[in-house]
Amino acid sequence: MSSSPVDHQADLLALARAGDLAAFSQLMEELQPRLLGQALAFCSDSQRAQDLVQETMIAAWKSLPRFDGSCRVFTWLYVILLRQHQRALGWFSRRLPLATLEQQAAAQRFEPATSGGPEEGGVAEAELLRAMLTALPARHREVVRLRFYADASETEIAAVLGIPPGTVKSRLHSALTKLRRMKEKVNRLRGAAH
């Protein structure tokens, strides 16, 4: 008998793969809130986030036969969610011009955490971080989101993306370096604006 939620989901997945719609429905029901939360985090529009989740689940049903169970169901769904989001945005999802980020910083949209209360500062920092994530190349952004937002291990990311674990490590390192440089640049612009 399955004990952990992951095993329980794996059992449901096995049934769904055999064509059991009720099992698929139960699986999606369990994962929907977490998936919707993630969709809201990068859409910020609830209607678009709902559409995204719906398209993700339909795409998951279509590609069930191709899923080999090498990672958790949520990780697999999260990759579909990211790809659906990227496809919906088209070219603009590939790279938000860094200039936009810099202009926003120069216009003091991203106030330093010390200017308001701790909560306000945290929100501004989160907004800045998400804007910087959008400015990353898609292959770097994907790895960062999977590692930190979907809580996937490097091995799991390698399996779900079909790339060697070494590539995951190097992409993650490159992404973190780029994020750090972007943050330094934004901080310099903030300093110049004050």
């Binding site: 719609l21 999606m28 919707l36 939360g37 709902q50 049903w61 989160a126 930190f148």
Partner: protein, 140 residues
Amino acid sequence: MSTPTPDDDQSMRDALQRDAARVSEPAFDAALHYETMRRVRALAETKSATPRWHLAPTLTAAAAVVALSALIALWPHSSAPTKPREVVTSLAPRTAAPRASLLAYQAAANDGDAALLALLDRDASTLLPASSPLFNATLP
């Protein structure tokens, strides 16, 4: 330019983990789930009800692609340059016997019809193949 240290990456890691912890899970959306499953069911029913003849266009297209590929693959062989043909410098074969002169024809005519026809046959055989029906046809 300063050399990055592991601590630099760690600060970004911490920031990302803090942001990930901020992502909240909304309540289960029953309407969204119902609509999603309605579409999935419709998809599943369509898939199971798809008759086999729907595969026909796909198979035809695949066959056409295979045929086209084979044609392209074989094309260079059929159009490969062959040994250049010898340039024909003259219509008559070089080894052919010289045709009879007017004097020879007059002499043959004096000798009779048989001799004349034999001479004509010999000259004609240098221009026409021996298998030509002309040589088998009876004279009127």
